[in-house]
Amino acid sequence: MQRFIFRNKNKIALINGILIALAFIIRWTAGYMEIFTGLLVAASILGLIPIALQAYQALRVKVVSIDVLVTMAVGGAFAIRNFEESAIVTFLFLFGAYLEQRTLNKTRSAIKALTEMAPETAWKLMDDGEFEEIDIDDVDEGDTLLVKTGAKVPVDGRVLSGEGSINEASITGESIPVAKEAGSGVFAGTLLDNGTLQIVADRVGEDTTFGKIIELVEEAQESKSEAERFIDRFSKYYTPAILLVAILVFLFTRNVELAVTILVLGCPGALVIGVPVSNVAGIGNGASHGVLLKGSEVIRDFSRLDTMIFDKTGTLTQGKPSVAEVQSYGDGIDEARVFLASIERESDHPLALAVLDEIGETDYLEVTDTHVVKGGGITASVGGCRVIVGNQALMTEEGVPLSEQVREDMRRLERSGHSLVLTAVDGELKLLMGIRDPIRPGVADDLESLKKLGVKNLVMLSGDNQGTVDAISSELGLTRAYGHMLPEDKSAYVKDLIGQGEIVAFVGDGVNDSPSLALAHIGIAMGSGTEVAIETSDVVLMNSDFSRLPHALGLVKATSRNMIQNIVIAVGVVLALLASLIFGEWMNMSIGMLVHEGSILVVILNGMRLLRYKLRPSYRLGSRE
């Protein structure tokens, strides 16, 4: 019976509304007052059933809920035979609840889209050697599972056999499929584009990376700011207090009309729901744009940001050095390139890869007498020649003459932030290569957007030499840039700024910068969905996509504004209602209920605007999305 009533609450609201409409039509057209009153009584009783039931359930667990206030108000109106008001109040209350549910579902849709990406079933290898489709909850660690083309990977695990390519966009944001073969790791929630894989489950359900992301977003929405906690405590006592006031007013004035009006006006609504709605919508928008915001505290701090500190390598730059310029001197250059490639092929120096990339496919020669000079380079014999590969210091040490032209080129390249690799064959300098870690495309525009959004200082900290750091800093228009910084120097710098009362964000790659990420008010990890990045930071840019930063900052600012608007609306409505009750003649419980429900809808709709939030074009530079 009880369930039947709750399931059909919306139908009850509809019938209730029709009865009221009918009553007024009959009154205005035919003028039968008895029928008018009868219909209103029916509407009131019908509408009161679900409300009173909810009130009873609340009281049983010792909660004075809104339903209790409304039930008493309707009862009071009944007692003074004001059926018009009792009917209208029940309708507005039920209809309001219906609209709230509809709109709230919308604000939560962004999260729902995320959770719906979670796999639901898996094909498990059974004891009889056949695969059988089972519910995802029944998959255990160690199970062997089959993933077919077009299906979602159900768990985090390893490939046992088969080949295929997987779209890992749900975890890394990178939609270019990644090839997988026996031994490769796979993640739950990613999509097998083609091929067939047999995998073994290492982590299932909420323990998977995808499960953790979902949990994080859900928890973020739930985490409460100080303001919200205050409102929570407040509303716990507020509703019973209103009840008490209404009873006192009745006892002293014997005015039922006034007492029930206070009950309706006192319903807490917009105030309690306003802030969480902004939060949920803001975090939801972020989640669907590759920005994970960990809760409302993060939103508050982030929106008031003064200084943003960036790690250089891998954050502002691509983290992959490449040869930007090659200068050659004299003849026998082709031969020199082959020598260089042959030597670098055997080196594990970070710059060697860049050099090999530049030279491309070639015939390698045998290298003998290899001698590695620490902090200098390599000397070796190749093709009967003595070859030296390294920096300027090594060349001087080995007595290789450097012409004025070479020195000029070297100075120019160093000034513009290149690392240099020189190659000499039989005592003659042949090649000069300038290697640099290119800046991520679009970073300059994104930094400009951040400035426009109100970040006062953009600072870069790097372990690299000051020359490189200065070159990048002036190219990107940073406020300050420091080189030769070890991880502990970086965190000391962050601490120093915090000590000066600034609100500081640190943007880094989550692993070696974790002390700074943890220290800063807002740690922003450029994580490709790695667990460390997800856990140590306050904001995660899902696809390591730097261009998400301006969106993230714009979004938290919009969310903060939205919360303040909602609080102002809610408090304003309550004050206006109270004022009109005291000073006005026209206030009654129907109008009170209408305004009350209206204000709840207004704050929900206001919160929903955040779902569609996009950075305004004036903040977005360049043609990139």
Binding site: A58, I66, A97, E218, E222
Partner: protein, 75 residues
Amino acid sequence: MKSANIQLETLVCPSCTQKIDGALKSLDGIKEDTLKISFATSKVRFDFDEEAVRIEDIEKAINKVGFEVIKSRVK
């Protein structure tokens, strides 16, 4: 001790969570400090002692204060 994760119908009213909180705390066997009711996701999580209370009874208690249980998972 088992942990439960219950998905409810969409919670709308601000006092919903208070009601569910009251209903669950009146049962024996539920570890109160693990009880988390999420308004935004309409989910309830808690640890409970399966010898003191059955998950069916917990669901019934939630039903009694007026909320539909959509899915419950016990681990």
